[in-house]
């Protein structure tokens, strides 16, 4: 890459070739660089809090998560190392993300130039990728770094394959293998690499095709292991559907790939304009693809196959369509588009004008959405930061007191509470004010806002005892409204949902209960509590809790519940049901009683030496519904 003497223009062009896509990336996504954390980020940041020894570290890094994912480089390791070194300072995380993406852009340019034989094609491919709306979250939301890192592994492995083909040197083949194997630590999508390598060699370097086949073995083993750890889900948003929905999902992802995500633009445009624009860009790409295939360029088909291979793993998930799922697939289309632009530039004026018009159309669809998307993401992180760092200050001013947040809306809630961000600033007792759940849109696939609500009665009791402070979270900074909140007369009644592990609910529990043990509370053989009675006939009392396998070793245990002295039909917990939800039909006579006394008794207990206490079940939630 050294410039020839006396050719400063060439040096400049070379510099622009490599730097310009990254610069444009920085200009478009600068808000991503300044953004903070939100949502899942907090769960990952807290992943290392339980690490006490090297064994814990290995377990967290390499034991598959609930969904069967093992992402030690891009998630667990990335967040744990970042949090250990920089705490809740987001900038270092962002620098790593952007640096990785700059490498990706250089690789896209380099590979694009190699496979098409036109340097300009690589440059335009990198630029086309930069203006695609699918980059908003990978560059703005830390927990989607796995996409950026996976892209790096895929592109680098493919780069080494190309170098191997170009030079015939075995070391590049080995580098490809090493990169491919390491890529599994970034994202499961890495398993598509053999298909990419095989497709390219089959179409463009047949001699090397057989050398790519062993790669499939690794992917097959990975898939088998993944399914063994996390069997395919039959229900919920992650349920896989192998039917006509695959084509519909593909069609939708296609519109997000060549047009803006969700076919949304912040510009005031007639409704027909975006679909028509997407259609025009699609036709342009298809025409160029057909022309190149007619000329015998198999690599054009490879570009399309890259797209299809990279999108294939998410096509059976029609209920979990996510904007950044096209982040990696669109690279293939960008190579095709970049090639088209470069080729058209060398053709006649009309072809050149048509290609520029198509690229402009694509850019005009993408850029406004990118700007709006990065702004939206940035503002969400700012709101999360205000809440988390505001709670940190409130906790500092009121040590030992629980914190109640009022005025939490849908965006703030779903980007903070479910992921336990407040533990990261040392505040482990932060609740939603009663009634907040009515203002928070439901997302059952993520969780239930009700479990964070402190019942009004418990809040009133805690305020009287001076154990609670109340802050309004609706503004640009938290506002202490404790006095105002306490002064407001409210209907207080015992809650119909009682979380026994919440310290502020302790006044509703009988004296038999043991102390809180992290996120649950054990009971001896018998324990009592008070809670709200049913409002409607037919409601049941649900007990959500768990026990130790030690209790169930000697056979099932019977759980008896009495309400106001009336015994309800007992339930049984058997081996394998260490985590349970039991339901007990409530007598209609309890309706409208206001409150009820509940007694729970278990047929057997166990001891955990050397602890002299008697244990049976731990809770958990008692709920009437």
């Amino acid at each position: 890459m050294n410039a020839a003497p006396g050719a400063p223009g060439r040096t400049l062009r070379i510099a622009a070739y490599w730097i310009l896509p990254s610069l444009v990336c920085l200009v478009l996504y600068w808000r991503g660089l300044r953004a903070w954390f939100r949502a899942d980020d907090f769960a990952w940041l807290g992943a290392g809090l339980d690490v006490r020894n090297f064994g814990d570290l290995l377990r967290i890094l390499f034991v598959p998560a609930a969904q069967g994912t093992i992402r030690p480089w891009s998630e667990t390791g990335f967040f744990m190392a970042g949090y250990k070194l920089f705490g809740l300072t987001a900038v270092p995380f962002r620098v790593v993300i952007f640096a990785t993406q700059f490498i990706n852009l250089a690789l896209v340019a380099s590979i694009g130039a190699r496979i098409t034989g036109m340097r300009a094609a690589g440059f335009w491919a990198a630029l086309l990728w930069v203006v695609n709306g699918s980059l908003v979250e990978p560059l703005g939301w830390v927990c989607t770094y796995n996409q950026v890192m996976c892209g790096c592994f895929l592109l680098l492995a493919f780069h080494f394959l190309l170098r191997h083909i170009e030079t015939g040197r075995g070391r590049y083949y080995a580098y490809q293998w090493i990169t491919f194997l390491l890529g599994f630590g970034a994202l499961e999508t890495n398993l598509i690499y053999p298909a990419l390598a095989a497709a390219y060699t089959f179409l463009c370097a047949r001699k090397y095709f057989r050398r790519t086949l062993p790669l499939f073995g690794v992917s097959a083993i990975y898939v088998a292991a993944h399914l063994a750890v996390s069997p395919a889900q039959k229900g919920g948003v992650y349920a896989m559907h192998f039917d006509g929905s695959i084509l519909r999902t593909l069609a939708t992802y296609w519109t997000w790939s060549v047009g803006p995500t969700y076919v949304y633009t912040p510009l005031q445009l007639p409704d027909w304009m975006l679909p028509v624009s997407i259609g025009i860009v699609t036709l342009g790409l298809a025409a160029f693809l057909a022309a190149k295939l007619r000329q015998g360029y198999g690599v054009a088909l490879f570009c399309l196959l890259w797209y299809l291979a990279a999108i294939a793993p998410v096509l059976p998930l029609p209920d979990h369509m996510t904007e950044y799922y096209v982040f990696l697939p669109v690279i293939g289309l960008c190579w095709l588009g970049g090639w088209g632009l470069a080729a058209a530039w060398c053709a006649g004026t009309a072809t050149r004008a048509a290609a520029v018009a198509l690229a402009a159309l694509y850019g005009l669809m993408g850029v406004p959405e990118v700007i709006a998307g990065t702004k939206w993401n940035y503002q969400l992180t700012v709101r999360a930061r205000t809440a988390v760092e505001g709670v940190a200050r409130a906790h500092e001013l009121n040590p030992g007191k629980a914190i109640l947040l009022d005025g939490v809306d849908t965006d703030l809630f779903w980007n903070s509470f479910p992921y336990q961000p407040f533990i990261l600033v040392g505040a482990d007792q932060v609740y939603l004010a009663a009634g907040s759940q009515q203002r928070i849109a439901a997302h059952p696939e993520i969780g239930d806002s009700v479990r964070f609500v402190l019942p009004m009665d418990a809040a009133a009791q805690a305020l009287e005892r001076g154990e609670l402070v109340v802050y309004d979270a609706s503004g640009p900074r938290l506002r202490n409204i404790t006095a105002l909140y306490a002064a407001i007369p409210r209907e207080t009644k015992l809650p119909e949902r009682l979380d026994a592990s919440v310290p502020l609910n302790a006044y509703l529990l009988g004296p038999e209960w043991h102390q809180i043990d992290e996120d649950h509370r054990w009971m001896p053989q018998r324990a009592t509590l008070r809670m709200g009675a049913p409002k409607r006939p037919g409601e049941k009392l649900y007990l959500g809790g768990g026990t130790s396998s030690e209790l169930l070793q000697k056979g099932p245990v019977m759980v008896s519940v009495a309400v106001n002295g009336m015994a309800l039909p007992p339930a049984t917990i058997r081996r394998g049901e260490e985590s349970f939800e039991l339901s007990f039909p409530l007598p209609d006579a309890m309706v409208g009683k206001g409150e009820m006394n509940v007694a729970v008794e278990v047929s057997r207990t166990f001891h955990a030496a050397p602890d002299p206490r008697e244990f049976s079940l731990h809770f958990g939630v008692f709920e009437v519904r």
């Binding site: 920089f86 705490g87 938290l478 002064a487 407001i488 409210r490």
Partner: protein, 180 residues
Amino acid sequence: MTHLLWDRRAAGLWLIAALALAACKRKETIKVQQTDEEGPRMASTVHTGDPKSDTQLVSGFYGIEQNSWRWTAQRFSVVLRPPAGGAQRGATLNLQLTVPDPTIARLKTVAISANVGGTMLPPETYTQPGQYTYTRDIAPNLLGSEAVRIDFQLDKSLPPSSADARELGVIVGSVGLDAK
């Protein structure tokens, strides 16, 4: 320079430096954002479009829409501070509400009533869509405390539907107790 970087001794130094950096224990400091600790006073009039009104909108109000108003459910309650001299002269309750077209189209009429400290205030029935003020006098004996809870009730509401999962009553812009 290249030689220096890749010289064995230099590489050893780089390694030691990297390990030392990794071993450095980060000073455990938690960044905090200032909070507004001077608590607000209870207001005699609340504008439902103001996020700060949340605390006084005790129940039955949905989220702010278009930065200016909220839908209510069939029952909704607010807590207001009586105006100065209210305990001697009484006050006027003013509820700025809108009865939307779809409500009248489906329900024909909507009647609103209010309850202050167990005393029912006379209802008002609306038969046409539009903006209204529900105004009632409040007797001094109901305004003796620092905070007065006012419970509103509609005789009918739009039930949850596929278009909107909420039970919808009327649209409220503000509610206040004004001095007489």
